[in-house]
């Protein structure tokens, strides 16, 4: 895991300082930075500020255009309004294409042109009073932006397309399964690969997870509407396991952007796992979950297994992950089937106790890995998790006062053992 790779700007700045102070040579500095896909000469810090400010300015210009269209200029004839906006779209895109073909610039023009294109669609809908429900307008807007994103390989235009596609997903997803989302996800992955963008890849994965959750909602509620059920948690367990292991699988690649993607994937999957586990430490939540599960015929289980089985296979082959996380991922398909197959509320208390112990174990591993590998994010995540767990259990007792006390004693015992084991190992390492 290259957590440091996520802080390239800071690393570059530190490295320049070390070189200036004579602590390391320029050549050594270059070699260090090359590991993270950057160099001492990299001047993207200054241009990033410029790009961000220009990007936000363009977004504001686009929003100004949308609001101008929304203002209902009744005194201007329909045809003039419509042709004006269509002509604006053509001019903006024309200038953008000219610049892009000349020297690869012009993305700003094309970005505003893409917003103008959408504003034209919305204006036509407004002029002709096209229905109250208008997700199709968003769909054709996103469809028109997608090829522009592919041709320019621009991250900002692709993000615009993804944002529109997500708006459409939310609007259309209430009325029918949003299958067309697969086109936008495919387009976004293609641009992320061509532009070597880890950030865009992560946003695409998040959009894909949202889409799969909406599709599962339709599997439950078809043909009436998408329903949110307990099986969604099962699906997300499988997806988190797959994302986590895919991150570990990618972390050994030679491509710097893929390594950065891998780090981000593993980090966010880990955060998602911790967030998903916490509600299960409450008995009432476990009871509700087990009660709502629809046996082994639950679509959430099957979609979850489609993700959890490849994740288990990756865990079996990849030894770079920690044994606890590998074991959890490998055992996940069986756990999912057991939870769905034997779903009865009587299992709630044992499951809650097991999850509490699992959270405790995870926190210990995070603290240990954080110290062992020098990853402060892991160390503090582990400490925070321990404190949150302690606070939650003190407020919400599992098995009343005596049960809660036993659980705390058990937790204290495990923590003592882990601390002693750690001290002995450190001592052993010191003697070697």
């Amino acid at each position: 895991m290259q957590l440091l790779g996520l802080l390239r700007r800071e690393l570059r700045s530190e490295c320049r300082q070390w070189v200036d102070d004579g602590d390391i040579s320029a050549e050594q500095g270059e070699r260090i930075l090359a590991r993270y896909g950057t160099s001492l000469e990299d001047v993207s810090d200054g241009s990033l500020a410029y790009k961000v400010l220009v990007g936000v300015a363009l977004l504001f210009a686009g929003m100004a255009m949308m609001l101008l269209v929304s203002a209902n200029w009744e005194e201007i004839p329909r045809a003039v309004r419509m042709l004006g906006l269509v002509a604006t779209t053509l001019v903006l895109n024309g200038i953008g294409v000219r610049h892009f073909l000349r020297d690869g610039s012009g993305i700003g023009w094309l970005f505003v042109g893409s917003i103008s294109y959408g504003a034209s669609i919305m204006l036509i809908a407004q002029i002709y009073h096209l229905g109250e429900h208008f997700p199709d307008g968003l769909l054709v807007w996103a469809l028109g932006v997608a090829p522009m994103a592919l041709l320019t390989r621009s991250r900002v235009i692709t993000l615009l397309m993804l944002a529109l596609a997500l708006f459409w997903l939310m609007a259309e997803g209430q009325f029918s399964p949003p299958w067309a989302m697969v086109l936008f996800l495919g387009c976004s992955v293609a641009v992320a690969r061509m532009a070597c963008s880890a950030g865009l890849m992560i946003v695409t994965v998040a959009a894909a997870v949202t889409w799969l959750n909406v599709l599962l909602g339709w599997a439950y509620g078809y043909p009436w509407r998408p329903d949110i059920e307990a099986g969604h948690l099962t699906l997300n367990m499988g997806l988190l396991a797959l994302i986590f292991m895919a991150g570990h699988r990618l972390s050994v690649t030679t491509s710097v952007y893929l390594r950065r993607t891998a780090t981000l994937l593993s980090l966010w999957a880990l955060r998602g796992y911790l967030l998903l586990l916490l509600p299960f430490t409450f008995t009432e939540f476990c009871e509700g979950y087990l009660k709502e599960l629809e046996s082994v015929m639950d679509p959430g289980l099957w979609m979850g297994l489609l993700a959890a089985i490849p994740a288990a296979w990756l865990a079996l082959r990849n030894r770079s992950a920690h044994p606890l996380s590998r074991g959890l991922v490998m055992g996940l398909p069986v756990v999912m089937v057991l939870l769905h197959g034997g779903s009865n509320e009587a299992m709630a208390v044992p499951v809650t106790v097991l999850v509490n112990l699992l959270v405790l174990g995870s926190a210990i591993v995070l603290v240990q890995q954080g110290l062992l590998k020098g990853l402060s994010q892991y160390f503090y995540s582990g400490v925070a998790l321990l404190l949150v767990l302690g606070m939650m259990r003190y407020v919400d007792l599992v098995g009343d006062y005596v049960g809660g006390s036993v659980l705390f004693l058990l937790a204290a015992g495990i923590l003592f053992l882990a601390a002693h084991y750690w001290r002995d190992r450190q001592g052993g390492a010191g003697h070697e």
Partner: protein, 166 residues
């Protein structure tokens, strides 16, 4: 991809965007061009669309299918409402799944599942875009007496022309 191919690709993308815009325009315009004018009773209320600005939402009696009938209709189903002339206004007949062989009829789509108050159907004539003040005034003035002037194409697609007092 060389520069010449790129030029063609960009031209194709811009042409595609033009075709989409033209398609949206034709879709909104052709009932106005080909359709027969009908006058329907309606009730306006006022929301705001994030992308298209302020509008008066129009509710027609035929936007709701009664609970008894609606069990047969699923969200996404295409339905038809035959219209019969009654003096100056046109009265909606019960919603049906099959396209009427003759007469004037509206084509709509079921957009909600059956509920206590029935299913909701939209026909594309439920929004009258107007400046905020006008939309609010419409809601107040025409709450009980509004009549929507609509043009209906032979295939049932309708376009809203205006909303007047009865």
């Amino acid at each position: 991809m060389n520069n010449r191919q790129r030029k063609f690709a960009f031209a194709a993308v811009i042409l595609f965007q033009l075709v989409v815009m033209a398609g949206v325009w034709v879709n909104g315009f052709y009932p106005l061009w080909l359709g027969e004018e009908v006058r329907l009773k309606t009730r306006p209320v006022d929301p705001r669309d994030l992308f298209r600005g302020n509008y008066a939402r129009l509710h027609y009696d035929f936007n709701t299918i009664e609970p008894g009938e609606s069990a047969d209709f699923r969200p996404g189903d295409v339905v038809y409402v035959p219209l019969v002339r009654n003096g100056d206004l046109w009265d909606p007949q019960p919603t049906q799944a099959s396209r009427p062989e003759s007469g004037v009829f509206l084509r709509g789509r079921v957009t909600s599942r059956p509920w206590r108050s029935g299913s909701r159907v939209t026909f594309g004539i439920e929004a009258l875009f107007a400046p905020k003040e006008k939309a609010l005034a419409l809601e107040k003035q025409l709450r009980h007496t509004a009549v929507a002037v609509v043009r209906v194409a032979p295939n049932g697609r309708a376009a809203l022309v205006s909303v007047n007092s009865e």
